[in-house]
């Protein structure tokens, strides 16, 4: 057993380094003395004897160093030395240090800030058991039915549960909302209405109490509810005695059976309570209102499940409704994709953009280091001459660059902390799990890693350059400003081309997203959005159980609000542009037999009060709007949108035709977007609120007042006077609803545009620096040229030519890279092709222009070179 002794020796050597070093010196002195004595005895003079002994011994400094290396601690000593030396150097050139650290801090800061979002949103695991086994399931149907996310019918759920062999279990849910009047403030609560197995499929336990029992989703089961941690703490003061108590939700009593963990935010983070569906045995295939959630069996891939599910037959009851079932196919998505959706792509794009910025920053610093290394050639050659090995010098230089990078990283982290705060302020609520964004251990680890890698990256290039210099070359060049060596110029050029091409890619991506956002913002929604106040007034509970109750409520509400000052038009509707539609449904046109094997037509069903079209400025294309005469007992009528008319009445006048169960078409109106601004227009059928019923109503008020929000109190008072317990939610202007719909694209466009701007500035500064440095280096040469009679123009051409070559190379590589990469953005782009040529051309112009401008100033300096001065300067 030797290692304890070896370890002991090592530790001794470490803790008594000074004494060990002293002893080593003594040992070597003794050696030299003995040898000297021998030499004297052989007849040499003392001086001669000493020199002979030293020659015989070799380089004693080197021997000492090598001996100390056997103690195993030199690496530590060297690092300390290098650090101390590096710090001293950085302090000695504060200008260089400040620029380099700041550049790095910007790059690393941007990177860290975005990573902290990526970390929270994409990397932290979802709050479910084995989330990779969870999939969302839908029908896939016509666009107006819900497209890829067409809801399920109860019959689908029962069929699939009974027949499939891929899933361990299938649950389903629908969104729901309840008015809660506990305390003094009536509140509208977002809820999820779920099957009893919902939580067992998720693999989530209650933090207090229990989740649902299997029998609790049957028809007529006792009303039970699970609460979110947030709601429990906010409204019930986190009272642990709440279990078993009943809550009054929309006029019905629900027994609280458990509190869910705080981390659970499924199916949406706004959900405050979960209740059970009351599954009635279906008598027909529809209606479609459920979203499915299934857990794959172990070892079953989603692919296999998809294949199996597509073979299932819709066995449910008779053939009478089979028609609507046949047009649907099975669709499934991993739950993480459902939760993250577009956000994942957007964040990855942002992360890539931030990384490009960091790369550009690193390239700039590499350029600075390269310039500085030129000034240090003499130092390095001296070191080499004194016996420093190449690896030793590289290590020292790497320590310096890492030191620089870590300082930049530290400052960058501070910037990131501030940046994250800004990010969270401008980030839309629709990005899931934003509340978990912060600087944690993983983020700091990432920053450290990124800093070190960056340091190595920008450190290595110039170092390779420096240490490759041969001694003679260094002695020849050292200390004298001669023309730049071609090797070094090549490095500078390579770096400039790299950063210009990276900047081109970033600018093009930003350009595409900006253009797409601009188009999205200007998309015609079909309504005029100014001066409209909107709010949701869901009519729930015993006071609105019967349709007649609704019939008496809405007219009174409209009438009262119409009398308020500065109110132009008032409307109640079940849908609101740009993205709130309640439901879509099949319809058929009277006198037109259903075509077998053809899906029946489908459209958004929009229920509106008579003034809806006037309030939203929807134009009439033919026939008439609804009027007060379209009452409950008058002949049923409907209005169709232009698209409906075009699609289903291609060569005939829809006016006067009848839609089965809905009545006669009396008008055609302009198209309105109800399914999001980026979606294509879907057919819509309007029905008067007097002849069809909805409990989920939006109240919209068009006003003459400059600020629609000034009407809120008056409108609320009117509602309160009709029903003091009616909760009002989603109060805001229509413009703010549109702004919310644009929030995510705006967020990512803003971010990527700022990154691109930063990249542009860095790249231009870098180009300027390199050209400017090159002019300084060539002052002598230019002086000679001018002295020999070169016209100013040719000098200008010389410098600009160098810059132009770099710019062209950078732009070309950047364009090629963009062609290859912008395809990844396709899903984020609206009405803009990923290779949109105006964007490509504009970016090319912008970047070449600024790059040339960056060369122009050094070039002007070059033509002013006074040959006498330039030559005397030597």
């Amino acid at each position: 057993m030797q290692w304890p002794r070896q370890l002991w020796m090592r530790l001794q050597a470490f803790f008594h380094r000074d004494r060990f070093t002293q002893k080593l010196s003594d040992e070597i002195r003794f050696h030299l003395d003995e040898q000297m004595e021998e030499n004297i005895a052989a007849g040499m003079s003392p001086d001669e004897a000493r020199h002979a002994a030293e020659r015989r011994f070799g380089n004693s400094t080197l021997v000492k160093e090598e001996t100390r290396a056997t103690w195993g601690w030199t690496w530590l000593e060297e690092i300390t030395q290098d650090l101390r030396y590096g710090l001293r150097l950085l302090r000695k050139s504060p200008g260089f240090t400040a620029v380099a650290v700041l550049t790095l801090a910007l790059g690393i800061g941007a990177n860290t800030a975005i990573f902290s979002v990526v970390n929270a949103v994409l990397l932290k695991s979802l709050p479910f058991k084995d989330p990779e086994q969870l999939v969302m399931v839908w029908n896939r149907g016509a666009a107006a039915a819900g497209g890829d996310r067409t809801p399920l019918a109860v019959a689908d759920l029962l069929d699939w549960r009974a027949q499939n062999r891929s899933f361990a279990d299938i649950a389903a849910f629908q969104s729901e909302s309840f008015s809660y009047a506990g305390g003094d403030l009536p509140e509208q609560l977002q809820a999820a209405n779920v099957t009893a197995n919902f939580f067992s499929v998720l693999g989530v336990q209650a933090q207090l109490g229990r989740t649902f029992l299997p029998e609790e989703d049957r028809q007529g089961a006792h009303h039970v509810a699970l609460l979110s941690d947030g709601f429990w703490r906010r409204r019930l003061a986190g009272d642990t005695q709440v279990l078993g108590r009943t809550l009054d939700l929309g006029g019905e009593a629900y027994t609280v059976i458990g509190i869910l963990p705080a981390r659970l935010d499924f199916p949406a983070k706004e959900v405050s309570l979960w209740t059970t569906l009351q599954l009635k045995p279906p008598t027909r295939r529809g209606p479609y209102f459920l979203t499915g959630l299934a857990r794959l069996k172990k070892d079953v891939s989603l692919q296999r499940a998809r294949i199996e599910m597509s073979t299932l037959k819709t066995s449910y009851p008779s053939g009478q409704y089979i028609l609507s079932g046949q047009q649907f196919t099975f669709n499934a998505l991993p739950v993480s994709e459902f939760i993250l959706g577009d956000v994942r792509l957007a964040l990855l794009v942002l992360m890539a953009a931030a990384t490009l910025v960091l790369l550009i920053a690193a390239v700039n610093v590499a350029n600075l280091m390269l310039v500085r290394s030129a000034a240090r050639v003499k130092e390095m050659s001296l070191r080499t001459a004194l016996g420093a090995s190449r690896s030793r010098i590289i290590r020292q230089l790497l320590t310096e660059s890492t030191l620089l990078a870590l300082t930049g990283g530290a400052l960058g982290t501070l910037l990131a902390v501030a940046g994250v705060r800004v990010l969270l302020k401008i980030a839309p609520d629709t990005i899931p799990r934003l509340s978990q964004v912060g600087i944690d251990g993983r983020v700091l680890g990432w920053t450290a890693l990124v800093s070190v890698v960056t340091g190595l990256l920008f450190g290595l290039a110039p170092e390779w350059q420096t240490t490759r210099l041969s001694l003679e070359e260094a002695l020849k060049e050292g200390g004298r400003a001669t023309t730049e060596s071609t090797g070094k110029r090549r490095w500078h050029s390579l770096l400039v081309v790299t950063e210009l091409s990276l900047a081109v890619m970033l600018l093009i991506s930003a350009g595409l997203l900006t253009k797409s956002f601009w188009r999205l913002q200007r998309v015609d929604s079909g309504v005029s959005t100014e001066r409209i106040l909107t709010m949701q007034i869901p009519l729930r509970g015993p006071r609105y159980e019967k349709a007649q109750q609704l019939d008496s409520f809405y007219p009174r509400l409209l009438e009262r609000i119409q009398t308020l000052p500065s109110v132009g038009a008032v409307a109640v509707s079940n849908s609101l542009p740009p993205d709130s539609s309640e439901y879509s449904d099949n319809f058929s046109i009277e006198g037109r037999p259903a075509v077998p094997n053809q899906p029946p037509p489908i459209a958004y069903m929009v229920l509106v009060s008579a003034d809806f079209f006037r309030a939203f400025g929807i134009p009439l294309r033919g026939g008439r709007f609804f009027t007060a005469a379209d009452a409950a007992n008058s002949p049923p009528v409907a209005i169709v949108s232009e698209t409906t008319a075009r699609q289903f009445f291609p060569n005939e006048d829809p006016l006067g035709k009848r839609i089965t169960g809905k009545g006669e078409i009396v008008g055609v109106v302009g198209d309105v977007k109800y399914s999001g601004l980026a979606d294509s227009i879907q057919p819509a059928i309007y029905e008067p609120l007097t002849q069809a019923h909805t409990w989920d109503a939006f109240l919209s008020v068009r006003t003459d007042a400059a600020d629609p929000m000034s009407l809120i109190i008056a409108v609320r008072d009117e509602i309160k006077s009709l029903d003091p317990e009616l909760p009002v939610s989603q109060v805001g202007t229509l413009e703010s609803r549109f702004a919310t719909a644009l929030a995510q694209p705006r967020f990512r466009t803003t971010l990527i545009a700022s990154f691109a701007a930063l990249a542009l500035v860095l790249a231009v500064v870098g180009t300027y620096g390199v050209i400017s440095y090159s002019v300084t280096q060539r002052t002598h040469e230019i002086g000679i040229r001018v002295a020999l009679g070169a016209p100013r123009k040719s000098v200008l051409k010389l410098v600009l030519g160098q810059g132009t070559a770099l710019a062209i190379a950078g732009v070309l590589i950047g364009l090629a890279g963009s062609f290859a990469l912008t395809g990844l953005l396709r899903n984020l782009l609206f009405n803009v092709s990923a290779t949109d040529w105006p964007t490509f051309a504009g970016t090319t112009l912008l970047l070449s222009g600024t790059a040339l401008l960056a060369c122009y100033f050094p070039a002007r300096r070059a033509i002013r070179v006074d040959p006498m001065q330039a030559l005397r300067h030597e």
Binding site: F30, R56, L62
Partner: protein, 109 residues
């Protein structure tokens, strides 16, 4: 610039171990002894002895002790440890095999 050593490292280790196997010696004496015994053929660059000595000491094959020389000066004396002695035997045997083999090859042609 190579390392200032004319001897392969393993060989130098063997020479050192052998030299101090009879009695403890200090660095200079080891250098002298190697030179004398090899009839001045092995010209060790004397400095290169020290990294080797310290490495062997770290490996606990030899141990060191400061003591007085016959001239009354303080010097660091190196001697073999038990491990070092075992190692010497192994290395000697190895060397014998190796040099024997090389001799065979060299003389056969």
């Amino acid at each position: 610039m190579g390392k200032p050593s004319d001897l392969v490292q393993g060989t130098l280790d063997l020479l050192i171990l052998k030299t101090i196997s009879l009695e403890p010696k200090h660095g200079w004496a080891i250098a002298r002894r190697i030179q004398q015994i090899s009839n001045e053929v092995l010209q060790v660059q004397q400095g290169s002895l020290y990294p080797a000595l310290h490495r062997l000491e770290q490996r606990a094959w030899i141990k060191a002790k400061w003591a007085e020389t016959e001239t009354g000066r303080q010097a660091k004396f190196y001697s073999l440890t038990a491990t070092g002695r075992a190692q010497l035997e192994k290395e000697t045997a190895n060397w014998g095999r190796l040099s024997g083999a090389i001799n065979l090859v060299v003389e056969s042609t």
